[in-house]
Amino acid sequence: MMDRYTKLQLVGIYASIVVFLIFILLPFFEMFMASLRPLEHLFRSPYQFWSDDFSFQAYRDMWKTVPLLGRYILNSVFISAMVTGLTMILVIPAAYAYARLDFPFKNASLALFLGVNMFTGAVLLIPLYRVLSSLGLLNSYWAMIVPGVAFLIPTGIWLLRSYLEKIPLELEEAAFMDGASRLYTLRRVVLPLAVPGLIVVGVAVFIGSYAQQFLFAITFNQTREYQPLPAGLFEFIGYQSVTWNEMMAAALTGVLPVMIIFLYLQKYLVAGLTAGAVKE
């Protein structure tokens, strides 16, 4: 009863949704339209919304123009997956400590972690370059994975901590009373209960890493074979001409795998966030 809308309200809601979606999806629509236009007609003036010679040719040609395109798409996914794995390994124990244990400098060290959120890679590029260089990590996958992990740890701890706090303490106490060690309790009691939270944090970290590979890639990695998609796309800007239509086609194709995975996971994301990762 309470949720019933009048006809007028329904029209208003759907109209607002449509306006909202136009704003969100407009750039994708524009990229798609550009990818369909033959190159010689991209620059047609005056502006024509509809070209009479739309074709999917760019989706075939792009693999020839940039032979490594497939590799770039996989690199992007691979780098983000590695970042997610490493971040989770570091974040899970730390988040548990902040959610459950009492120890000296607890609040101070947590504040230090969260303080990292104030920096982005762009502020620290020069010294970061030197650190990575002295660790021998430049021009490798690690050059993009390691900084990615460092800047995502704070968000990971912050999200997972509030999720773990919601898990009833009694279960752990019971396990502890039965003589289980702290580590055993964490592994066998807490983590299985935290799976929805782990999925939320994992997805958030993956997206964070996937969205921000560009800067680290162009600064710390010169090896073409290791480049992620956003950096690789700029290869369509050639010496003589820019094959814009193929670039758009490659961009849309390249994000497709992750979009599909995300579409599958998104319901867990909203459910998990609702269940606890955000304090109400």
Partner: protein, 307 residues
Amino acid sequence: MVHQQQVKPRRTAPLHLSQGVFASLLIAPAMIFIAVIVAWPLIETFRLSFTDARLGGETYVGLENYQDLADSRKFRQTISRTFYWMFLSVSLKLILGLIGATLLNAAVPGRGLFRVLIMPPWVIPIAIGMIGWLWLYNGAFGLLSGALQYIDVVDKSFEFLAYKRSAFYSAVVADVWVGTPMVSLFFLAAMQGVSRDLYEAAWVDGASRWYRFRRITIPQIMPVIVSMALLSAIWTFNSFEVIWILTEGGPRSASTTLIVDTYKTAIANFKFGEGAARAVIIVILLAIFSLIYLFFLNKVNKHYGVK
């Protein structure tokens, strides 16, 4: 024998591990990682800011870099532009995020689809989204300029990124586009956490939708709004790829924020020392901003009865 040895240590020894030691062991890996990759470069940045480091080498110059910045009118403009950029973009993200979350939360058919369709700007690499906006903003063959011509707002093609003011606001719109989906999602999650009983009680009392939104939803999700605002403010302040790909800070510095200025100085012009001084100023400004904000956050949380 063997069996006993395997079981015994697990049952007794770890119990004696004090909470403090156990906690330090759990935190240490993450802490060390951050120390090497973030804290050390930060200290290095601080040191470099007192030198004239370039590609060739570096000598100590004291406060010269900071003195130059303090004397520069252009740099003061960049600071105020950055705060304006942050204020404008974050306000829009919060307002649109609130509207988006309310629409997503409305019990209408098709909201599952809407929830999916709102996500892409958040999920894809920022750099790729910006390629789309670059094309949209193009005067000769972009959709926006074409549409404006079609409805006769402009009589010839309009280059959004070619004029100082339009370039700045175009970058704001693109940045809002990147940030809004995530804000919406977090607000939605918070809204779904609000107890239904509250709404039902108000509904029985005849409270209108708008009243329920204003007096139940907003106060209940206020802590999330406030913490989202801070995070979003810091990210927006440091938003680099959006501006760099769209305008590289131009035309004539009209869209140069502090982070872009820092990158330009240090990476594009190889003035590492001068770049480091700018980086230190970013850190100080953000720290001051966050402290003031957290003070405010505490008050809000107290007001709404959150621990």
